[in-house]
Symmetry: C2
Subunit: 683 residues, 2 copies
């Protein structure tokens, strides 16, 4: 069947991998796996060619391949051994294009080898939306399989020395050390496995577990410690697959809603730090146990964790007093990436697990923001890109095509529904979206926990629950809609010329009713007050001023793209954000809300160690701009308190702005043209 020519020419065989097309010539008897390695063709192999894992299944194609210039067939490789047959599907063995283990099939002639998806070294997709990004699975933890010779009176190497020699010879691993828990049970494990063991390695340098025989299973945890929510994502570190995600409320909220109140609690109480630390430790351990249970594994199977969070959260997680984060110049104990022993932190993971903490940029730009940058990769774009991470503080990053700039802006907690008269966290019953008819001022809204908008509710089909308050995104939409409907003026005052049943006055301060008292569970109407509008104005002005400050530092006039990240990021409507003047002008289709990108960044760092180096580079190369005592920031802040009415500044939303604003803009433009004209005439 095969051409004797192709099988013997110059004692070398041509091998071509599909679909990559990689090709090369190798001496006969070379294994397909060896050829793949030399050509850089990524074929999965855990056992390292011991016919013990069955991962390296490839298909030997049969027939003439004129375009490739070779002829291939199953007989062009050595026949499968009994050991190999045990790994292969029975029906495949008799196929004309059989599956074979690349580690056991040796070239006898030319071969065209197809590498199926499952045999390729993994890539993992971190997010299943517009910004879907594949990440190569190159975690800090991997497992290798070794077969050793037993000791004898002539070979009295210690067990660890024997294992090291095996790892050096079979995997080229050198300068290894071994974790104490692994050393403790090493002798029994090696004998139990009859001198065949699976070794779990951390960063190619540390043996953290040894298992008898061939045994798969390594897991990693990505944790985002937010001030309000702690989220954990469990991944299979072999495939990169996301196995389970859970989130719980940060139990520290008992000791203070926002960062500053927790810092104060840590400073003002003797055991304040201890309580805050124990609270987050408990949440971490419960989350780890619960995602592990969901995935059918144990907490002790979690071999590594990557943790992100703002600087205060990381400080409390590490049991470090955060007091210096509460005062100028906001200095951290350590702003670089850290690797710490989980056992030292009393985390209930694998006994030799490592905890990697992403680096921070500066006092208020923490590991969570670095994680957002890692997920969004602005520094890989040609565009000018602004990333806004909104939480209690807003962290802002700008990429101008050459350099990263970052700042922290003191927005306060208004965007999270705090300091709003009827504000609440984004929980069931919270009004999260609002629409106001431009003419009639009729209001419709959507609450968390009910699919339908309020105008679709009927007595026959009442909502699942009634509103109890308004959350951050609800307030933002409400204020923007009130502005668009002419209920409030650009300066934030309620329109004194408007008369409407929903607009009520308490002295000089107006308020606008979203839900009448008979629509709510509380028996009180839910309204947006003048103070609420002021709080939102201050918060949005701080955010906007931060963005403007960075644009000025970076020497850019406009931004091409905006990413809205953070706890409420995915609920925010880019249109309303821009109408309110939360963010600078940009094409609306280039403003995207990505939700909790910090968690994505943590997962990326968990799956790929090169991205950890990238995070460290991001943190260190980012140019931090201080807002606190910055006059340019103050100036930008003051002039951003008004809601956008300078049409020139927001061309992308100009046509939606209220008519009075637009006609005022037309008047201003005309007058400016006139003055330019008269100036020219004077010259």
């Amino acid at each position: 069947m095969s051409s004797s020519h192709s099988r013997t020419s110059r004692g070398a065989s041509t091998i071509i991998f599909l679909p990559s097309g990689r090709r090369g010539k190798f001496p006969q008897q070379t294994t397909i796996l060896e050829a793949a390695r030399q050509l850089g063709e990524p074929i999965e192999s855990i056992c390292g060619g011991h016919v013990a894992c069955g991962k390296c299944q490839v298909r030997i194609e049969a027939g003439k391949f004129p375009k490739l210039g070779v002829e291939s067939g199953p007989e062009h490789v050595s026949p499968p051994t009994d050991e190999e047959r045990a790994w292969l599907p029975v029906q495949s063995l008799s196929s004309t294009a059989p599956l074979r283990l690349a580690c056991n099939a040796r070239l006898l002639g030319d071969a065209v080898v197809f590498v199926p998806e499952h045999a390729r070294i993994h890539q993992q997709t971190i997010r299943k939306d517009a910004t879907l990004r594949p990440v190569a699975v190159m975690p800090a933890v991997r497992q290798v399989y070794v077969e050793l010779s037993p000791p004898s009176l002539d070979d009295r190497r210690g067990d660890w020395e024997r294992l090291q020699d095996g790892l050096r010879a079979q995997w080229g691993l050198d300068n290894l050390n071994i974790a104490y828990p692994a050393l403790r049970t090493l002798s029994q494990t090696m004998r139990q496995g009859k001198w065949k063991v699976t070794v779990v390695l951390w960063r190619e340098s540390r043996v953290i577990e040894v298992r008898p025989g061939y045994q798969e299973g390594i897991y990693g945890l990505a944790v985002d410690i937010g001030s309000t929510t702690v989220a954990a994502h469990l991944s299979d570190l072999q495939t990169g697959e996301l196995l389970a995600t859970r989130a719980v409320m940060n139990p520290q909220v008992t000791y203070g809603e926002d960062l500053m109140s927790r810092i104060s609690y840590a400073i003002d109480n003797d055991d304040g730090l201890k309580k805050l630390h124990r609270a987050i430790l408990g949440a971490f351990n419960r989350l780890a146990a619960s995602v592990a249970a969901e995935a059918g594994v144990k907490s002790a199977d979690i071999h590594e964790a990557v943790v992100v969070g703002n600087t205060t959260m990381i400080s409390l997680f590490l049991n470090i007093n955060p007091e210096n984060l509460g005062m100028v110049p906001f200095i951290m104990a350590n702003r670089d990436e850290m690797d710490l022993a989980a056992s030292e932190l009393k985390l209930r993971l694998h006994p030799a697990a490592n905890v990697h903490i992403l680096p921070a940029v500066a006092g208020h730009v923490g590991a969570d923001n670095v994680a957002v940058l890692l997920a969004e990769e602005p520094y890989r774009q040609d565009d000018v890109m602004l990333i806004v991470d909104v939480g209690t503080n807003a962290e802002i990053a700008l990429w101008n095509g050459k350099r990263l700039y970052s700042a922290s802006s003191p927005t306060g907690p208004a965007f999270e529904g705090a300091q709003i008269s009827q504000g609440m966290r984004a929980a069931p019953g919270a009004i999260e979206r609002v629409r106001i008819d431009r003419e009639t001022k009729a209001v419709r809204y959507k609450i968390i926990g009910e699919e339908r908008w309020s105008d679709a509710w009927t007595p026959e089909q009442p909502p699942a629950l009634f509103p109890t308050g308004i959350c951050g995104s609800g307030v933002i939409e409400a204020v923007a809609e009130m502005y668009l409907a002419g209920v409030i003026l650009p300066d934030g005052r309620f329109n004194p010329e408007l008369t409407h049943p929903r607009l009520r006055w308490r002295g000089k301060k107006g308020e606008f009713v979203l839900a009448a008292m008979d629509e709510t569970t509380t028996g009180h109407a839910i309204a947006v007050t003048q103070d609420d509008v002021r709080a939102i104005q201050l918060a949005k002005a701080a955010l906007y001023a931060g963005g403007k400050l960075l644009m000025r530092e970076a020497g850019v006039e406009k931004v091409d793209r905006i990413v809205l990240a953070g706890a409420f990021g995915s609920y925010i409507d880019p249109f309303h954000a821009m109408v309110l003047g939360l963010i600078p002008d940009a094409p609306l289709d280039k403003v995207i809300a990505v939700g909790n990108a910090a968690g994505d960044g943590a997962r990326i760092a968990l799956l790929n160690t090169e991205r950890r180096d990238e995070a460290q580079w991001v943190a260190r190369s980012s140019h931090y701009v201080e807002t606190a005592a910055n006059s340019a920031f103050q100036e930008a802040f003051v002039s951003a308190i008004h809601i956008p009415h300078q049409v020139d500044e927001f061309p992308h939303i100009a046509r939606w702005l209220p008519e009075p604003v637009r006609s005022a803009a037309r008047r201003r433009n005309r007058s400016e043209r006139r003055s330019r004209r008269s100036a020219r005439q004077r010259n």
Copy 2:
């Protein structure tokens, strides 16, 4: 006063250090400390030239030094600053040859500088006897002092980054990491010290403690875990000085007197390993606390420990099941040196303390034996040297001028007084020395706890206590003396031709009474029985055969020196050891007993990290010779069961051997000479 010539010639000044004589030329304004460093003159400095430790006091000599070709005087260096004066004795300042801080005195002209002993970098003497060995103090832990600039809005480095930058700039230290307990309190410490801190470093790579301001004090513990006794030695790691030594009985004796019974206990009981481990852990922690208290410091001030012990003791100390040490081929979990976190082992030392475990050679030649070799340094001798470390097993090492050989010999516990009819441990009341009159067979002995020999006891001045048994050294001396007095014959039988009241017969087996029943506290006579003699014969034959086996392997006929080490080593009389045939023949004045050399070795490794590398080299390069299934060993063993009577084999003790032995030797020599003569005549 000074010659302007010497102060200005070519803008450079000559500096000469005494007593070393090191000299060099340096630009004016160079500090004496800097000049010393460049010339390799070892001057102590902890604070690194910050005028903060006062360690670098040197004397500026005054006058003309014609032989040195310079003129020197206090005015040839910059005058002391107020800061410096605070460190110097007042009367010295007005002296013509004042003390100065080398870090603060700058060269203005030529200077002759005397470096007093206390300012030199330390050496420490490990043992105060014949083999006194100085060890350079180069411990794994050292402290350095740094002064940092405070943070500001323009300098927002994290505290750890700031400290690293300071350590790099002021001490050339790079690639440092920081222990978690140190990181936890770093921010407070740096502020408390007003940005001046003392840093405790482990192996120039890890910051294990940071103290506010300038604060001295680093301590290390050397621990020798013997099967019977655990000894701990606390040293000042700055000076190398031994501060306290304590020893306690190994509490594991409750679970078995010897190694094999403890290994069995660990195997046969579910919580056997746990109990044995906890026992030694408790002893370790109690010892650490007690030596620390004795030295006026805390356990938490102990920054490092070096631990030695036989392979089973180390295994139990590390909570590793020792079962494989109880069966052929006696494989260890790890035979190399180890560095482990004290906290991981639950040792109550400094929270970031390291525990260094010396390497072992093979299954029964452990870290304790390597420590003995480290203390005795046979490999630095030109002589052929045999080192015998006697415990429950005897470990034997031989240096033939080129290579180290080692073996373990199964002597059994007879040398420790076990398996002896009236045997006991070396405790008060034990007969430890014995003399028997060659003619009258009168016995005198010495017991532990009483200074005087028994023949000096009188009813008026009775001993402090009466004998209760006999310990290892007592049995050895007794058997040797019985042989020399003709009570037993070379083959170990009691002399059937001797009639003496002390010689009693129980059937065919004799026994010799050392202490009559009215002399003992037990009311029983203390006698050496035929079975006791046999036990000692077997033990000494095993030891001797081990030595002979190594000599054969190493190709040497005789040894030049013998070192007797081990728990009872210092009590053993080399003469009796040789009479009994415990050790091969050697000049008697070249046989020394060094006591517990393992503890010395542990202290050496504690004080000097280069010696740790040496220990690893010793362990790995030592050629291990198996005795277990070795026919040459068996042969040597059988022919060594007799007590020395081949006068040729023991020329150095021949003249003391009993007359019948010597006359038999003369007869044998005559007959050999005859047969050689007749052989020559035949040829």
